[in-house]
Amino acid sequence: MTDAGYDEWLDAVDDGEGYFLACPEGHGSLPPRRVCPHCGSTGLDHAALPSTGTVETFTICYVGGPDFADEEPYATAIAEFGDVRLTGVVRGVDPEDVTVGMPVEVTVGTNRTTGDDLLILQAR
């Protein structure tokens, strides 16, 4: 399955050229978008995604869906990257050692169960 907008975005993140969509009001969002989800503006421009973010909240998932059977237990976190937040699987640290406020870098890895690309928040 290909997903126009999302696949390009993930490839850009993988190439170290991640971006987000910025509206004139200063709201950030992730593709695919035709309007800003916060104010409805159609004036969306690409802006550089900061490479480093901060974990805002996380969970250690012991029971995943079938697509994550080989990952358990794994940590999924929401991390703030400037004007946007990203949700991703945390790697580079034991799930039990993830903390709020921890710095992470956004990368693309591989889902061990499905072999699909996976958004990774890599512990720094």
Binding site: D3, Y6, S29, L30, P37, E56, T57, F58, T59, I60, C61, Y62, V63, G64, G65, P66, D67, F68, A69, E71, Y74, T76, A77, I78, V84, R85, L86, T87, G88, V89, V100, D116, L118, L119
Partner: protein, 388 residues
């Protein structure tokens, strides 16, 4: 504008019914609701039916006409899907149709069949209420999403797992006498804290169970009730619905639920009441933290204050504001597409005085139900009042 009365309610037992189909479950609830209402079958003008994952769990899309058939009708029948708030919106649209004068009698409710799926498949099915690209592919599950919210709550406002455990203990206590509830088992705070983790900090006993079940309501206009001498002392006097961004990470704040605030503001305004007037409430406690977010979103507590409510005894059966006297989703069970209708059925029984927990609220006149979809990307709130 006409008023809307609850003429009859029907519920199946909530629990594991692996040998029964969704059509059989909804047929039972619908028949019970119609019998209680005394409404003539041919007077039912439409069926508003809530269901979330029947296409996955039973390979059955297009369920609404099937459900009409089970009731014995070929009337217009429509499925409403709003994740865990599916039946809430089905009822809300019925209320709007009766009020507008378009219909006098509507059968509304919902059904879900879940226990026939494996844990992994249920997890996957429920996760589809989240953002597929940015949340599901990142390993987010439904318990995981609420775990993210719970930790964000602790970070923003304080509180701890033990506070949440009191929510679970309370709701299990409330379910004990409820014949429709999945669990009839009291639990302790220590049992909740010691239960296996599902998605830290959400433990097994912080989570609602996987449940099969159905709910149904016969809603009639004031005029129809008067003309046909229908005994229906409970009215739905307020209805509201609110929305929010689907993905948690797109919300401005991770530990507040503006969709609930929006739905509540509309419902209170509609009914001409305020949070202060509410005597009891059924809220969407799919996880213990969800009850906390709900009672804050509904305006009973400021942000950060709701977490201690159960522990302080304020929301227990004998407290000032009993929350989830039915047992809630936590102990009564959460057949996703049936839940919103079940909350209104339980509130109707509580206000009429024929619920096993009615004794705790015998002077109550006004109750509120709150049904949320996903991580509260949608919320439906109803105000119910009883003639005294």
């Amino acid at each position: 504008m006409t008023g809307v009365r609850v003429a009859g309610v029907g519920l199946t037992h909530f629990g594991r019914h692996p040998e029964r189909t969704g059509r059989d479950l909804f047929g039972e609830a619908a028949l019970a609701a119609r019998e209680e209402s005394g409404v003539a079958l041919e007077d039912i003008e439409s069926i508003n039916y809530g269901n979330f994952m029947g296409s996955l769990s039973e390979r059955q899309g297009h369920q609404a006409p099937l459900m009409a058939e089970m009731v014995g009708l070929q009337c217009p029948a429509t499925r409403y899907e709003e994740a865990c708030a599916s039946a809430g919106v089905a009822v809300r649209e019925a209320v709007r149709a009766v009020r507008s004068g378009e219909a006098d009698v509507i059968l509304a409710g919902g059904c879900e069949r879940m226990t026939n799926l494996s844990t992994a498949d249920v997890t996957e099915g429920l996760a589809t209420a989240a953002d597929e690209l940015y949340e599901i592919r990142a390993g987010m599950t439904f318990p995981g999403a609420y775990a993210l919210m719970a930790r964000a709550y602790f970070e923003s406002f304080g509180g701890e797992r033990e506070d949440l455990a009191h929510v679970a203990v309370k709701n299990h206590d409330n379910a004990l006498p409820n014949e429709y509830a999945q669990f009839h088992r009291a639990i302790t705070v220590d049992e909740v804290l010691d239960a296996p983790m599902v998605s830290d900090p959400v433990g097994l006993l912080d989570a609602c169970p996987v449940t099969d079940g159905a709910s149904a309501l016969v809603l009639v206009s004031d005029e129809y009730a008067a003309e046909h001498d229908v005994d229906a002392p409970v009215s739905i006097t307020g209805s509201g619905q609110g929305g929010d961004n689907l993905a948690l990470h797109d919300r401005e704040r991770l530990a507040v639920t503006p969709a609930t605030e929006r739905a509540a503001a509309e419902a209170y305004d509609d009914a001409g009441c305020s949070a202060d007037d509410v005597d009891l409430v059924e809220v969407h406690d799919c996880f213990t933290i969800a009850e906390v977010l709900a009672i804050e979103g509904l305006g009973f507590y400021d942000h950060g204050e709701g977490i201690g409510a159960a522990r302080r005894g304020e929301t227990t059966a004998t407290g000032d504001l009993p929350v989830n006297l039915s047992g809630g989703l936590k102990a009564k069970g959460h057949p996703v597409g049936a839940t919103g209708g079940s909350q209104i059925a339980e509130m109707t029984r509580l206000l009429r005085g024929d619920h096993p927990n009615s004794d705790h609220v015998e002077d109550a006149t006004l109750g509120v139900t709150h049904n949320a979809g996903g991580t509260v990307a949608s919320a439906v709130v109803h105000v119910l009042e009883v003639d005294r």
